[in-house]
């Protein structure tokens, strides 16, 4: 197996766990899935690092591991414990249809990227449609689910997709950009957590469709 | 010719069956007259060689079948179903006439012979294609034009439903095949794709509605829709090949379709006759009232089970062979280098897989509820085996099911002769090889099966297991009653019901059924007991609702117009007349050049 195949394989797993996010109807399980998904992302980045030998990619991989596999899931677990809501009971679109729509999204992204030409050195061509699919799935999670925590997870999934595209298609983004993104995501997740807690205390619930009563 | 073979086979078996079944009716001579002329009219349809005779015999066939449907005319429900049937049929005929007209305008002849490879524009072809699809599709019962089928089949006498389902709706398929392979040649690829799409949707939805039924004959009627869908899938995939210039594969796919047509005539005829026998003895169509019939009517049950295994496409019976052909032709479809086809055809194939699995589930339900377990009502407790002629009729079909399943190559040889004029290639040599009992598509090396080999292997294994058990096992058998969780009361109502059996699927696909569930508390008569509860669930066919809604809208639109014009004042009516006259005069004078 060549290096690009290893990367493609690993990124396929990232996609599988993104789809599994759609499948899950329990918050704990979603967070766990997110952690595993990020773990595969880490693997993908480290493979690139070994292949290209850039030192900053090692640091990126390490940071991904610390922040996305350990810190954010830990934080979200705490949050779920604190607000005491553990299940996504009624999403806007039921899980069965969500899964089918996801299938269509993946199809779409493969069709879409068929004709796109990427300039510059490409390590793994197939990762591009996969990461587009992950981004779309992330957006779809944010659209279709009600609970604020799942929406955060959707956002994080989206971000993983961007990360995958950025690091694995070519040999990584400029280091400073990556650091910036990490910081953004981490702080974003932290703030969203605090906000969810506030929503919970004022609405007794974390269904975001209740927020629409704020508009008046 | 091939279709006449199908007609005659089934007609023979059904006629033998009818000898006994006639006892059911009062008006025997009328029935005999209608019945025989019905069969004759079907043959007339198939052998007619120009559009005019075709339409006439088509009408004769429709009207006769209408009379047969409402044969037991004293029942209000029968009349209603008959009405819907005749309405839909004529709607279909209207579209057929439209399609014929297009052909007539473009070729200037009513002879089918002159229509061969008609040289007409693509637009005309498209409309001829669509109208033919709607017209014949109504007769064949494709979605969403199927609504007459589950109404008309159950109320007709069972031998007639066997003929209607087995043969009459096949005449539509026959004409479709002629249309798409003889008249409209050189078609764009998406014609075939549309047929394939409609076929797979019909197949899947047909079986899913069948699953929710507990009227035995209506369930079988829905299965007709399913099988028509499978046949259309074969035709569609064949059309795809034709438009891409792959005659061998086209022949193969058409073989799949025609083989399934024959098989469907056999097993659906058998099942309707079996249902008729059960009906004959129990006088109810409700499956919830059957049960335990396997001990009371052993041969009927055996034949029914053979039919069920065939229709569920399980080896070694005939349904499996034709469904296998269909799978193979769908796989071959992916060789066509069009991305849409390549992506969607496997999806259709998995829909076919789902259809097959649901059909199996459905027939487990039918057999399990009607033939196994305890009798659920007095009527089924008193059932006895039916007469000799009825058994012979069913027996012929059952034996044919087995023979077709085990020696498919010989049958395929016959069918390929029918296909030869359509695709110009004799594919008999391409599908059979290795000693005549292995089926393979040699052109593409896709796969092969040998039903005979399967059967022999099965027998060998059976003998092997039997010997092993005789040698090592304990062959003592003790009879004891079924475990009832420690309760000692025997109540046949504690058995699983037909409604309960399909409940998971109803719940999973609630969108299609729109189930209305309610628990009705029957009045509390005894003070210290809990109120009696009744569970009711009403299912509906979404497409029927849709069509009703559309016709409803349309009618109310007509009424609205009528309301505007019919005011009830005679002067205004006179005014309308003169207005019309004036407008017509103006039109004639100014627009069409008047009298010069």
């Amino acid at each position: 197996m060549s290096i690009s195949e290893v990367i493609e394989l690993v990124s396929a797993f990232v996609l599988i766990f993104a789809i599994m996010q759609i499948f899950s109807d329990r918050l704990y399980f979603s967070v766990k899935t997110y952690a595993v998904q990020s773990f595969f992302l880490t693997l993908s980045i480290s493979t690139i690092a070994v292949y290209s030998g850039f030192a900053d990619l090692y640091i990126t991989a390490l940071l991904t591991f610390i922040i996305k596999v350990v810190l954010i899931p830990f934080l979200l677990f705490k949050l779920i414990d604190k607000i005491g809501i553990k299940r996504e009971i009624e999403p806007f679109i039921n899980i069965n249809y969500s899964l089918l729509i996801t299938g269509v999204l993946v199809l779409f992204s493969f069709f879409l990227t068929q004709k796109v030409h990427i300039s510059g050195e490409v390590v793994a061509r197939e990762v591009f449609p996969i990461s587009i699919a992950i981004i779309l799935i992330g957006i779809f999670i944010m659209i279709s689910r009600k609970k604020a925590i799942t929406q955060i997870l959707g956002f994080l999934t989206l971000e993983n997709g961007i990360m995958l595209a950025g690091t694995s298609i070519t040999k990584g983004m400029p280091f400073i950009v990556e650091i910036g993104i990490f910081f953004d995501v981490f702080v974003g997740a932290l703030m969203a957590g605090i906000m969810i807690y506030q929503i919970r205390t004022s609405f007794q619930d974390i269904d975001t469709d209740k927020l629409s009563s704020l508009k008046e | 010719m091939y279709f006449i073979l199908i007609v005659s086979t089934l007609a023979l078996a059904v006629s033998i069956y009818t000898l006994n079944y006639l006892e059911e009716f009062k008006n025997k001579s009328l029935f005999a007259f209608l019945y025989t002329s019905f069969i004759a009219s079907i043959i007339l349809v198939v052998i007619s060689f120009n559009a005019f005779t075709f339409l006439i015999s088509w009408e004769i066939m429709s009207v006769l079948s209408f009379f047969l449907v409402i044969f037991e005319y004293k029942n209000e429900e029968n009349k209603k179903s008959g009405f819907i049937y005749i309405l839909m049929t004529h709607l279909g005929t209207a579209f057929i006439i439209l399609s014929f007209l297009i052909m007539f305008i473009n070729t200037g002849s009513l002879d089918f012979k002159d229509w061969f490879s008609a040289d007409i524009s693509t637009t005309a072809k498209f409309w001829a294609f669509i109208f033919a699809l709607i017209g014949f599709g109504t007769k064949a019962g494709i979605f969403p034009l199927h609504i007459w089928l589950p109404k008309a089949h159950p109320v007709a006498p069972s031998n007639v439903s066997a003929l209607m389902s087995g043969v009459m709706i096949k005449t539509a398929i026959y004409m479709l095949v002629r249309y798409y392979f003889e008249f409209l040649t050189d078609i764009p690829w998406w014609f075939g794709f549309i047929v394939l799409l409609i076929g797979s949707v019909s197949a899947l939805l047909g079986v899913m509605y069948a699953l929710s039924q507990h009227n035995l004959k209506r369930l079988l009627a829905y299965h007709s829709i399913e099988n028509i869908g499978i046949i259309l899938m074969g035709i569609g995939s064949s059309m795809l090949f034709v438009s891409n210039g792959m005659p061998v594969s086209a022949g193969f796919a058409l073989l799949a379709a025609l083989f399934h047509t024959y098989n469907h005539a056999l097993f659906k005829g058998l099942l309707f006759l079996g249902a008729g026998s059960v009906l004959f003895k129990t006088h109810t169509k409700d499956m919830e009232k059957y049960g335990g019939l396997i001990k009371l009517m052993p041969l009927t049950s055996l034949f029914f089970i053979i039919g069920s295994i065939s229709i569920s496409a399980l080896p070694p019976f005939n349904g499996f062979v034709s469904e296998w052909f269909t799978y193979q032709s769908l796989l071959l479809n992916t060789k066509i280098n069009i991305n849409t086809v390549q992506i969607f055809v496997p999806i259709f194939a998995s829909m076919l897989a789902l259809t097959g699995a649901f059909a199996a589930a459905c027939f487990v339900k039918v057999i399990g509820i009607s033939f196994l377990g305890h009798p659920r009502s007095e009527e089924s407790r008193n059932a006895t085996e039916v007469g000799l002629f009825m058994l012979t009729g069913m027996g012929i079909l059952a034996v044919l099911c087995i023979i077709f399943g085990i020696f498919p190559v010989e049958v395929a040889g016959v069918i390929s002769k029918a296909i030869e004029p359509l695709t110009g290639i004799n594919i008999a040599n391409d599908i059979s090889s290795h000693g005549g009992f292995i089926l393979t598509s040699t052109d593409y090396h896709f796969g092969r099966i040998s039903p005979l080999g399967l059967l022999i292997a099965g027998i060998i294994f059976a003998v092997g297991i039997f010997v092993l058990i005789k040698l090592f096992g304990n062959s003592k058998v003790r009879k004891y009653e079924t475990w009832k969780c420690g309760l000692d009361e025997v109540n046949p109502k504690a058995q699983y019901s037909a409604t309960g059996f399909s409940q998971p699927i109803k719940k999973i696909f609630a969108v299609l059924y729109k189930p209305v569930e309610k628990i009705v508390s029957v009045e509390n008569k005894l003070k210290y007991f809990l109120p009696e509860k009744k569970y009711e669930v009403h299912l509906s066919d979404v497409f029927e609702l849709l069509i009703t809604k559309i016709t409803d809208r349309f009618l109310s639109f007509l009424l609205w117009i009528r309301n505007i014009f019919q005011i009830g004042i005679i002067h205004i009516y006179l005014g309308f007349i003169s207005l019309t006259l004036t407008i017509l005069l103006i039109y004639v004078v100014w627009f069409s050049g008047g009298g010069n």
């Binding site: - | 196994l372 099966i449 099965g458």
Partner: protein, 311 residues
């Protein structure tokens, strides 16, 4: 002659190790839970014990009950003889391809479900209803996976599919394979009544599917049912392991290579049994109406694997 011998050996190995696989999965689960556990040979003892016992047949049963156990076992045995285990020469590969494989197995399920309905017990009906629902929902995903491989290799003959995959090696379509593998795992769990779909270890009314159908079976009937369900599990594991780890001396027929092939196969199949044990101890049983979601998940994965192959 040589081919026939190899075919027979493959068939017997497949049948013979199936109780061992079942014992092995159980053992792994016990080990991970920290329990003491029956020996991995327990399957053989159970079969022997059941064969020696008399049958208690319900007085309401018809001939279906007498025939069904045999048909179920025969259908699994026929499929077992289609499947190349470690060598391309199978016993009956000329009689059936991979579509026939699925449908012959379905024949077994059909009669198993009829058996459940035969005694007029409410449990049996419940089991049959659920089993048919699950089997039906798993079917499209299974067909999709099969289609993916049939298209990749250009044939539906199982021996040839395996031969081509062994030639090309794993790396031909890695992403496609990963998706297909995950889909096949889900389908295998569903078809064999394993943990997230059905619990093979309990007899609890609310949850049971497979066990409910054979609740009335006893003595040698039960033995036949049990062994056919184990063979079925082994079949799926063999299918997965041969498709996804296509290493081993597949096309040679010398004595040494056959022995090596058997060793390879045993290692592979035990490796593939471990994930099943892992899934079983780490997941709770799904609510019955969540099963369709799982099946859709499998279907979507299979679909993606097909699409990836094309584009």
């Amino acid at each position: 002659m040589e081919n026939l011998t190899i075919g027979l050996i493959q068939f017997f190995i497949l049948v013979a190790i199936s109780p061992l696989i079942k014992g092995f999965i159980h053992k792994v689960k016990c080990y991970l839970r920290g329990q003491k556990c029956a020996s991995i040979w327990q399957g053989y003892r159970d079969i022997y014990k059941l064969l020696k016992k008399e049958i208690v047949l319900s007085s309401d049963a018809s001939w279906i009950s007498k025939v069904a156990p045999y048909i179920v076992l025969i259908s699994t045995l026929i499929t077992a003889s289609f499947l190349p285990v470690f060598n391309s020469h199978t016993l009956l590969s000329f009689t059936g391809d991979i579509i026939a494989f699925v449908y012959v197995l379905a024949l077994g399920t059909f009669f198993l479900a009829l058996y459940g309905m035969d005694q007029g017990s409410a449990f049996g009906g419940l089991g049959s209803s659920r089993e048919m629902t699950i089997a039906a929902l798993a079917e499209p995903a299974l067909m999709m996976v099969i289609f993916t491989f049939a298209l990749q290799t250009g044939t539906t003959n199982i021996s040839e599919i395996f031969a081509k995959i062994h030639q090309a090696g794993f790396s031909q379509f890695p992403i496609s394979s990963v998706f297909a593998l995950m889909a096949l795992l889900i389908i295998a769990l569903a078809e064999n009544g394993r943990m997230p779909v059905d619990n093979p270890e309990t007899h609890l009314e609310l949850t049971m599917v497979h066990e409910a159908m054979i609740l009335e079976a006893s003595g040698r009937d039960l033995a036949l049912f049990e062994i056919s369900s184990w063979i079925k599990l082994t079949l799926f594991l063999t299918l997965a392991s041969n498709i996804f780890v296509p290493f081993g001396l597949y096309n040679e027929t010398t004595f040494v290579s056959v022995i090596l092939g058997i060793v390879f196969f045993l290692i592979k199949i035990f490796l593939f049994a471990i994930p099943i044990a892992l899934v079983e101890i780490s997941m709770a049983k799904l609510r019955f109406f969540r099963v369709p979601d799982l099946m859709t998940f499998g279907f979507v994965l299979a679909l993606i694997s097909l699409v990836v192959y094309y584009l």
